[in-house]
Symmetry: C2
Subunit: 362 residues, 2 copies
Amino acid sequence: MAQPRYLIVADGDFGPMTSKTANSVIRYLPDRTVGVLDRQQAGKTVDDVLGFGGAIPVVASMREGLALGPTAVLVGIAPQGGQLPAEWRVWLAEALDHGCDLWSGLHTFLGDDPLLAERARARGRRILDLRRPPTDLPIASGLAKTVEPLVVLTVGTDCNVGKMTAQLQLIRRLNQQGLRTRFVATGQTGIMIEGWGIAVDAVVADFIAGAAERLVLEGSEDADIVLVEGQGSINHPGYSAVTLGLLHGSCPDALILCHQSSRKYIGDYREAAWLRIPPLKEYIGLYETIGSAVHPTRVVGISLNTYDLSDAEARRECDRAERETGLPATDPVRFDPEPLVSAVADARTRYLETRSSSLESV
Amino acid sequence: MAQPRYLIVADGDFGPMTSKTANSVIRYLPDRTVGVLDRQQAGKTVDDVLGFGGAIPVVASMREGLALGPTAVLVGIAPQGGQLPAEWRVWLAEALDHGCDLWSGLHTFLGDDPLLAERARARGRRILDLRRPPTDLPIASGLAKTVEPLVVLTVGTDCNVGKMTAQLQLIRRLNQQGLRTRFVATGQTGIMIEGWGIAVDAVVADFIAGAAERLVLEGSEDADIVLVEGQGSINHPGYSAVTLGLLHGSCPDALILCHQSSRKYIGDYREAAWLRIPPLKEYIGLYETIGSAVHPTRVVGISLNTYDLSDAEARRECDRAERETGLPATDPVRFDPEPLVSAVADARTRYLETRSSSLESV
C-alpha cells in the first residue's frame, strides 16, 4: 500500500502549543502532509503558525483541502468535550465520498458513528481508529526480555515533555551508524507517524504490559535497536499505571529520562501546584529500581525539552543536568542529538558484551 | 433492597484450590449462600469439599438449586476458555425465568448475550456484570489524599496471596473497637461480598487510578478507616500497572504487605520460575518509595498466608517475618488477627496526631 498523504483537521485549535498530534505529524512527515484545515488560521502557511513545516497551506474548508490531493484525512486535535462536532462529521463524510481514508486518535471511535461507518463501507474506504485496542492482547509474561535487539524506553518526569520526540530525533542518526533502529509507537501520534503500534492508554488495565510486550516482539524483527515510546510518568497521580505497565512489559535494557527544564510541578495539576517534580537523580533511582524488579535496566542519558528558554539558558540546563546525574544530556530538537546517539550506541556495545559473556558462561 | 441469597454456579471446578470467587463468597456470606451447583461434587456439603461452609448443599442441576430459594444466581468460577458454555446459558435463562437476578464477574459480559438480556428484560430481572466498568470514570488527580478517614491498602508480593482476605478478617474487630471501618472492593469477588465496587483490572488503562480515587471518595463517608482491596504486585510482569494505579489513585496512609510464605517465584510464571520473590524488606522499600512519590505512606504490618504449612511452621514464618521487617506479622485466617488490628488502630492514632498538628500549623 502506498503511504498516505494527509490532510489534517485541526479546526479552531491549530497552534504551536495546542495541536500536539497535528504538529508532530507535520514535523516528522512534512512531505506527506498536503494541508491543514483550520478556519481561524486559513490563508497562512504552516510555517507562519508553527515556525516550521514550510509552505504547507492552511485552508478554510474540506473542499479546498480535498483539492490538495490527500489520500487520507487525519483528525489532528481532540474536539472540545470529546464529542465529534456535527460539522466535522459532515466534513469527514465528504472526505470518504472523495475517496479518502480516515485516521483518528480520538477516544470516540469514528468507526462507531453509523453515518461514517456506512459511508466508508459504501465507498470502500477505511476508518483507522488508532486508539481502538486489539481484542487479543496477552497478559505479559516477561517475553520481551528475550529479544535480540537493545530495547530503549523513554521515561519522563511528567506527561508531554518530549518522550516521543526524543526518540524520533535519534533514529536517522543511529541508522547512519549502521545500527538498524526501529521506533515502536505506543500513542496515537506515534502510530500516525509510524503507521503501526498500539495506544497503550486505551487498552484494558490487565493488558497494558501485554500490549508493550507484543509491540517489542514485533518491533524486534531485523532490528539492532528498538526505541519504545514512553508514556506518562512513574509519579503521575493519574497516569503512572500506564508508565509502569510499559516499563515492565517492554523490559528495556536502557532508559532515556526526559524532562522539560522549566516545569516545576506535575503538569495536569499545575494550577493546584501540589506535586513538585523531584530532582532528576530521584527519578533515575525510581525508574531503575522499579524497572529492574522485572528486568535489569539503567538510565543512559537525559533528554531535555527547552522550547521556552533562550539558547544560553538551554545550554546551562543541559550542563546542569549533566552535573547532577553524571550522564550525557541534551535537547535533541534544539541542539545536536549526538550525546544521546552515543549513549544509546554505547549501551548497545555494553549490552552485546554482557550477552556474549552470559552466553559463554552457560 | 433485600440482600440477595445466592445459588453459586461452580460446575466442574468446585474445590479448595480452584473456585476462588465461590469460596470467598461462601467464607464471608455463608448465611446468604443457599447452594452450589457442581455436577461432580453433587450430594456432598460445602464443608465436605472446602473444609468450611457447613451444611450448604452441592446440587446437580439448576432445578434442584432453584428449589433452595435463591434470589440471585452467581457465577462463581471462570469457565474454561472464557466463553460461556451452552448449558450454562440454558441454566442462567432458567434462573431468570424463575425470578432470579444474575451476578457475574466474568470478562465476557452476560448482559451482552442476546438471549439472557432479552429474558432479563421480559422477566424484570437484573444482570449484574461486576467487571463492566462505569463509563464516566475520571483521570485521578490525587483527590483521595484529602479524605478524612485513614486509608489502608493491602499490597502483595504476588497475585492471589490473600490481599482481600487479610482485610475482611480485620473489619469486624476494628468495628468492635468503635472504629467505623469500610471495605472498598476492587475485584469481582470483593464486589460480590460487599455489593458495590469497581473491578479495576477491567477499566481502560488511563482510568485505573481514577477508579481507585472514586472508590475511596465514596467509601470515606461516615468511616474512620477505609480498607482498600489491593491487586497484583508491584513487580508482577503482567499486572504491576494495576497495582501502581491503585496505589497512586487511592493515596493510602498505611499499607499491609501480604505474602504467601511457601511461595518462592512470582505465581503465574512458576513453571518457568524465572522471577524470584525478593525479601519482604525489598518490597517494603519499593512500595513505600513509589507510593510516597504521590502521597506519604508506610507499611504497618505483614499478613501471611500459610494455608499449606503446619501450625508450627506457620508460627515460625510469622516470627521470621517480624524479625526481618520489625513489623507485626500474622496469618489472620489461621491465627488471631490482633497484631494487624492493633497495627491499623495505631496507624489511625498517629494519623490523627499528624493531621491535627498540621492543621494547627496552618
